[in-house]
Amino acid sequence: MATLSKNKIFPGFNLSLGYTLVYLSLIVLIPISAVAFKAGSSGFDHFWDVVSAPRVVASYQLSFGLSLIAGFINAIFGLMLAWVLVRYNFLGKKFIDALVDLPFALPTAVTGIALTALYSKNGWIGQYLEPLGIKVAFTPLGILIALIFIGLPFVVRTVQPILEDLETELEEASASLGANRWQTFHLVILPILLPALLTGFALAFARAVGEYGSVIFIAGNIPLVSEITPLMIITRLEQYDYSGATAIAVVMLVISLILLFAINALQAWTAKRTGRSR
């Protein structure tokens, strides 16, 4: 009853919630449910044939494997970058802090062509790697670099606020009990940061799995070698094989949903651990 009367204080409950639900259904829920209906209409055998084809299986391995590696690299360097931005003062710090969000703001196609130009045979970086026998552009390594680029801000921006809110008392207590700086870091600070770090990792991973624009230019798209899963959907669509595209989309959607709920649980854990709201 208490909530009922409380809801009556403000006007606009029916209007705002009604509008939210209608708009959400029209733009997101109904179109997404089309995937389920389409997949259901073509039968399980067809579904299984499509999603277990060798080229598609190779694309899962590539997409998930590289997204995991990119997530780990971003977790390490993102944590380091967040630490440096919060703890130290150096020239150009504000500039770097602002530019960390570049991957959020820079359109993926621009990222894609820029990275390809940098790492191709004649590119600024590629020309030094080529003589060493390291090929980046048009190989899985190139995909990894694109995934690192797009995932970095997720880790920095989830860890940074937690680091800023950290109490000095914890570290002082740890030091006064005889811990050295490294012990204080990995026994006191890291456990506090862990939920946020995992959230950042999961966000970067989720983004990387579905990423298309920044990867497609540098990937080379060689069957069984450097084809990502979203590209497999595109290839089917270009052949007007809508049921095939839908079958692969179902696999990706299920994984996205699992990740989405995992991320929500991680964020709730972060909030509980640190007393922050989101």
Partner: protein, 291 residues
Amino acid sequence: MSHLSRFEKSGATTEPRWVKYTLVALSLSFFGFFLLLPLISVFVEALKKGWDVYLSAVTEPDAVSAIKLTLIAAVIAVPLNLIFGVAAAWAITKFDFKGKHLLITLIDLPFSVSPVIAGLIYVLVFGAQGWLGPWLDSENIKIIFAIPGIVLATIFVTFPFVARELIPLMEAQGREEEEAATVLGASGWQTFFKVTLPNIKWGLLYGVILCNARAMGEFGAVSVVSGHIRGYTNTIPLHVEILYNEYNFAASFAVASILALLALLTLAVKTYVEWRLRSETHAEPLIEGQP
């Protein structure tokens, strides 16, 4: 910068100098290689063949029509998602109801869906073989491989931006001010425009800027529904792709540099807004404490 001096005043919360410099050097190199270099290369590649090539690339008719289409998509998608974001944040933060957490999760859904799937779902609804395909065909309405499809895909991928910015902000601000306004006899709209809106304006602007940047830069979702008809259904990012695939690199990077400039502008405004948000949240307790 208060947190910084807090950590630097005591030996218990600082590291040896060599650790500090190593960490800074490593972070800066990582940042330089992975973020800064790609950004700089866009502009260098764009101007490689001189200003004339650059200017003709960004002013040729196909580029201009791509710019126009991108603006149309953003001008429709951003306000729609702005209204939705405000409505959703109002419903979620000012009222208690069952299923609120599920609703918040569902609002975030477009962020966790691959852009390619975002395009696919509209093909399945509006495409020739889709749910509404036969009907649309008989009415002679084109959505997929036409401008409406591009607008829809843009709305989908930018769907959560404003809502997800406003929900935590309005949650943190609480309901007291609106309650006071209502008790004093303000109507719902008066309460919203005179009390809530001034409180959330920076957060709102922040969400709109990010929403706009994504709307103008979306590639994957738009690529699926566009059909790539030059001069008709090409947005700026799709035009960049076409030029690139034609090995017309200088023109491709020239057009891409418009998007890169937009990204830099977005970051500049975002940094300013963040600074305003921060100074306002820090000032809040002082204002609240006054009679």
